[in-house]
Amino acid sequence: MTRVGIPVASEMVAPIEAPAALAPETIRFPHGLPGFERCRGFVLMASEGLGPVQCLKAVDGPSASFLVIDPRRVLPEYRCELSEMDRARLGVQDQDTLLWLSLVSIELDGTITVNLRAPIVINPGAMVGQQVIPYHCVYPIRFVVSETV
């Protein structure tokens, strides 16, 4: 599902295009994301230049793209239990088969934070995803990363 091929470094300031021909790679988000409820389809793009950070870009609804990273890259012991409802919505019994991504924010002063409280969880088998807000979750929305990314 990961597509490699974002132009690196200086070319990277150009907007990333997601051609319609890549539709089979679209991950369905039936409810969008909070604040982006009309974005129902996303593609996940990787680039060597971005290291472990990937780009999650909406391919329908309003234009939106996010930087994302596996939360275990910033906190190796990261572990969230999904509710039965969340697993049902994703169509899985075993949550170990899921792909976990946390949204990365670059704040105005350059501080980089990662949202560990509400991860995006994707079932690669069904190409369906959602942002979950686990009921019992001790992790912060704004986890400051220093040199861990």
């Binding site: 150009a14 909070p34 604040g35 290291g51 996010f66 670059i106 942002q131 929305i141 990314v149």
Partner: protein
């Protein structure tokens, strides 16, 4: 806004699939139980609002990609 008076163990229905029941009424709060179809996510509003705000801040600008790329180059 529709306003109801409910006592303990009384409920309201929203559509035919969502039931909200008053489980306990205390001095500091009301404990509610929600039964909803699987496809309906139920959240505390203040948490949901925080996540929405964080998402809007996280929406990446093109220069964010460049900032991450430069950072990776420095670390290489």
């Amino acid at each position: 806004m529709l306003v109801f008076t409910r006592r303990r163990h009384e409920a309201i229905m929203i559509g035919d699939g969502i039931r909200i029941e008053v489980l306990r009424v205390g001095r500091d709060g009301v404990r509610l139980g929600v039964v909803a179809p699987t496809e309906i996510a139920v959240h505390r509003k203040e948490i949901y609002d925080q996540i929405r705000e964080a998402n809007q801040k996280a929406a990446a600008a093109p220069q964010d990609l460049d900032a991450i790329a430069r950072r990776q180059q420095r670390r290489a």
